[in-house]
């Protein structure tokens, strides 16, 4: 409750999305795997504090786009500007240490480990003591662990998963696993959070819960969020701006209303012959 304040208080973002500063910009990015052109000359930006959705039919290149952003794929052309620094390609460890965290389309947790331990792995990059010092677990490394554990506990409190603290995540229902994965991403204290289909395979109630957490993360922690999602209801309700991809190309970019009324988006989703 009150203890959240330290973790949760960040600079308020009063301004409207379009007036905010650009956190990440992708310019003219193209990516191909051999002959397959997954992304063709796509440009868009993500502004500080917004919820940005990336949508599109299956195989449109959405996940590839996220992988480019966090440095997992290296585009052949184009640049990525993150926090004012322009790069030809991002590298995963740079992305992680500079405040980009992500969750995956299919849950990628350590199934045999408890919820607490899984979230704790998100703190790895923030740990300063060496393996040896941690093994001895005395003095500074003990203090450090206590500090990290506190952050983890705040996340547990934030995501309301106190009751599964010590449960091995493999035993948890899917919806809760997704929540733990979000928790691990939050443990890195990200500035930009990439969510790859956070609601896939969830029932209505789980979707509602997850939507609330996504909004809370954005609102309370001030985290910028880019998400891929298939549930259009969720996308239209949650996001500030939406970029639409189809066959690796950007076909629309704007507010949910604009995108909803865009003819090429409607065509792409209804499969109109071109």
């Amino acid at each position: 409750m009150k203890a959240d304040a330290a973790l949760l208080d960040r600079t308020p973002l009063g301004a409207l999305p379009e007036e905010r500063e650009v956190l990440l910009a992708v310019e003219n990015v193209s990516l191909s795997f051999g002959g397959v052109r997954a992304i063709r000359d796509v440009s868009f930006d993500i502004r500080k504090g917004e919820i940005r959705a990336i949508i599109g039919p299956n195989g449109a290149g959405k996940t590839s786009m996220l992988n480019v952003v966090n440095g997992f794929y290296h585009p052949q052309q184009g640049t990525i500007t993150y926090k004012g620094r322009r790069r030809h390609q991002m590298r995963p460890y740079i992305a992680a240490s500079q405040g980009i965290a992500r969750t995956f389309q299919n849950v990628a947790l350590f199934k045999g480990m408890s919820t607490l331990d899984n979230i704790m792995t998100g703190r790895t990059l923030k740990m300063r003591r060496g393996i040896l010092a941690q093994a001895v677990y005395w003095g500074w490394s003990q203090k450090e662990e206590i500090r990290h554990r506190e952050v983890v506990e705040r996340i547990v409190d934030f995501l309301e998963i106190q009751h599964i603290r010590k449960t091995p995540v493999g035993k948890l229902p899917y919806g809760l696993q997704k929540r733990v994965e979000l928790g691990r991403a939050l443990a890195t204290e990200p500035e930009l959070l990439l969510l790859d289909e956070p609601m896939a395979g969830m029932n209505l109630e789980e979707k509602q819960d997850m939507s609330r957490f996504v909004l809370d993360v954005n609102d309370q922690l001030g985290t910028t969020i880019a998400l891929i999602e298939h549930d259009m209801g969720v996308v239209m309700d949650l996001s500030d701006r939406v970029v639409v991809l189809d066959y690796g190309q950007k076909i629309a970019d704007g507010t949910p209303e604009e995108v909803q009324n865009n003819q090429s988006v409607i065509d792409a989703y209804l499969g109109v012959a071109r």
Partner: protein
């Protein structure tokens, strides 16, 4: 209720809860009063700290404009700060009104406007949203205070305040104006035992909920009596997990806690209550029967998956526990060999089980609310857990009867609680009188007059009788109790519950009001009977076939006979032995309107629907053909037809007559 009476002399007796707070803060200053888990670690407040927290809050609330006699809604899960709000409001003469936290906004609207709430103290954003959505229906509501600021940053804060903010208002005032502390103590001294302490709305199965008004005297006298009855001291620990709006929680975790000065621990969340209970190890605990049932089921299921050695140990030592555990708990003589075996069993089985249940340190456990299965009740007691039953209601400030140590029976709720008189009306209804009798229903004189008569006797609405040991047995709601043609009492639910304790029986429906004898429909439990059939090579193709199977009939017949034998032991009940029964070919289902959504039998509807079967039960036929509609799970409807066999049961001789005949 309206304002102060300036001329009233301040009373120095411990007759209000805030006065008890001051006593605890001076006498038990360093003892733990509240615990709450924050970020996974238990945080503790001592009584002295709690007094300071409550003082700041009370002064803060006063600065926000809360006046003597006004009402404060308290909405949320069990949280120390919400408990403090009770005492803070009471200290300045305001009246706390806890509201069920899971009520939807529309349900809340009635209570909040009926109680004319001036200020609401709520737990979190969810509750703030509900109260805000009702704001225009509650003209009296001026301010809302919330405990957890999460998600509320962007809300309009003109009438909205954080708990911290209210307390810091009080803190500031205390700092700048030292006389404030004296003022607060004077405010407390102004209170007296006859003041309204709290208003609890009963859920009310019919019509609108009623606001039960209780005085400080009601609360304190009942709490002091109950603490003395069970020898509860400031050393107890309790875990508060039942709704704060329920009278039980208000007495156990608030009234009795303040009276004895013991410690109240609030679980982290509802889901962690079980885990938190193991960590806290309460010494005093209340749980509804279904909680104890769930605990037992959990153990049985886990044992089935355990290794052979463990299963053997469990079975062997549970046999010993069943044989002598209860006697040992009650200090009755037991053969030395059993005592020794029980001691070994305690080390190997019982103590680990108690630990698993979080009841290792338990001194007194209570259950109430509905009938508890005798098997379940005895299981816990044989493990050395002092589980007891009580009977109570909001109008009595809980306690009407309670079981004293050494006089525990699964089928009674015990003799009258200390200072409580009980009388059985001619129609079988239980009436009581005592220190806990409520003042009145808020703004509802008609209901007050109908429930409480001029001499202070209160109608419980329940029917019951005293057995030969002087213990009260509750049999049914008074309005559901009927009579056989010979004038004998017929309590359908009492009979049905007895049968439903057998795992094979899912539902039972008793008939007989205005008839010569009692009869019964039985619904078998598909899971349990199906299992039994599998183990005993009984073949069946459908529910209907299983229900009509001769071996199933034979099994049910044995069960009914057992019940009849039990009924024969009770003079009042001997006439309502089941003479004829049948097993229904179809499962009673809420989709068909036969059960309510909360799985209660709709007797009238069933009687209409199965009228031919009832006729057959009373015209002596051996079989009856029935054709009835069923609704399948996907909503389609179909018909089922069956020939239902009817079984005649021999009756047992009533005990009293048997004795007389033996004497002759």
């Amino acid at each position: 209720m309206s304002g102060t009476i300036p001329s009233r002399a301040p009373s120095s007796e411990l007759d209000t809860i805030p006065k008890l707070l001051l006593r605890n803060a001076s006498r038990l200053a360093a003892r733990p009063a509240y615990r709450e888990k924050d970020l996974g670690i238990w945080q503790t407040w001592t009584w002295a700290q709690v007094r300071d927290e409550i003082r700041e809050l009370a002064i803060g609330l006063y600065i926000l404009g809360l006046k003597r006699g006004e009402t404060v809604a308290i909405i949320g899960d069990n949280r120390p700060r919400l408990y403090w709000t009770f005492a803070a409001a009471q200290s300045i003469g305001a009246i706390p009104v806890p509201v069920y936290q899971d009520a939807v906004a529309a349900e809340m609207a009635y209570v909040l406007s009926h109680a004319e709430i001036a200020l609401a103290v709520v737990e979190n954003q969810e509750q703030v949203d509900k109260v805000l959505s009702l704001a225009d229906q509650i003209p009296t509501l001026r301010r809302i205070v919330y405990e957890d600021p999460r998600g509320l940053k962007k809300y309009d804060h003109t009438r909205l305040h954080s708990f911290e903010e209210v307390q810091s208002l009080g803190r500031q005032e205390l700092k700048t104006n030292p006389a404030t502390d004296d003022w607060w103590h004077e405010e407390i001294a102004q209170g007296s035992g006859s003041d309204i302490s709290v208003m609890l709305y009963t859920s009310g199965t019919t019509g609108q909920p009623k606001g039960v008004v209780l005085s400080h005297e009601n609360l304190i006298r009942t709490a002091v009596n109950a603490n003395a009855f069970d020898k509860l001291s400031e050393k107890e620990e309790i875990i508060a997990y039942l709704p704060m709006a329920w009278v039980g929680d208000h007495i156990f975790s608030y009234g009795q806690a303040f009276a004895a000065g013991f410690c109240v621990a609030c679980p982290e969340s509802l889901e962690t209550a079980m885990e938190d209970r193991r960590e806290i190890g309460p010494t005093f605990f209340f749980g509804p029967p279904r909680r104890f049932e769930a605990g037992l089921t959990d153990i049985v299921v886990r044992m089935q998956d355990a290794s052979r050695l463990k299963r053997w140990m469990f079975d062997t030592f549970m046999r010993i526990a069943r044989r002598s555990g209860e006697q040992i708990l009650e200090g009755k003589p037991v053969p030395l060999s059993d005592r020794l075996l029980y001691w070994i069993g305690d080390k190997l089985v019982y103590a680990p089980l108690r630990n698993r249940l979080g009841l290792s340190r338990l001194k007194i456990g209570y259950t109430a609310g509905e009938a508890i299965g005798p098997e379940i009740f005895r299981f816990y007691r044989s493990l050395g857990i002092n589980l007891k039953q009580l009977y109570g209601q909001t109008e009595a400030t809980v306690y009407i009867t309670m079981q004293p140590d050494g006089e525990i029976f699964a089928d009674t709720v015990g003799p009258p609680a200390p200072d409580v008189d009980i009388r059985i009306a001619d129609n079988g209804e239980v009436l009581f009188r005592g220190p806990g009798v409520f003042q009145h229903y808020h703004k509802n004189e008609a209901a007050t007059a109908a429930t409480k008569n001029a001499d202070g006797w209160v109608h419980t609405g329940d029917a019951g009788f005293f057995d030969s040991r002087g213990h009260l047995v509750i049999i049914d709601r008074a309005k559901d109790v009927g009579h056989l043609n010979d004038g004998a009492l017929l309590a359908p639910k009492y009979l049905e519950n007895k049968l439903k304790f057998f795992p094979e029986v899912k539902e039972a429906v008793v008939f007989g009001d205005g008839r010569d004898f009692a009869t019964m429909f039985i619904n078998i439990d598909l899971v349990s009977v199906g299992n039994w059939a599998e183990r005993n090579n009984v073949m069946y193709g459908s529910y209907q076939e299983l229900a009509g199977h001769p071996e199933v009939y034979a099994m049910i017949e044995r069960r009914v006979d057992e019940i009849n034998a039990q009924l024969a032991q009770e003079p009042k009940m001997a006439s309502s032995q089941i003479r004829r029964f049948l097993v229904l070919p179809k499962e009673l289902d809420a989709d068909d309107g036969e059960l309510t959504r909360t799985q209660k039998v709709r007797r009238g509807f069933i009687a209409d629907r199965y009228a031919p079967l009832i006729r057959a039960l009373y015209d002596g036929s051996k079989e009856c053909h029935i054709r009835t509609e069923v609704t399948f799970e996907d909503g389609r409807k179909g018909m089922i037809e069956a020939d239902v066999r009817i079984v005649d049961m021999p009756t047992h001789q009533p005990m009293a007559t048997a004795l007389k005949e033996a004497a002759e």
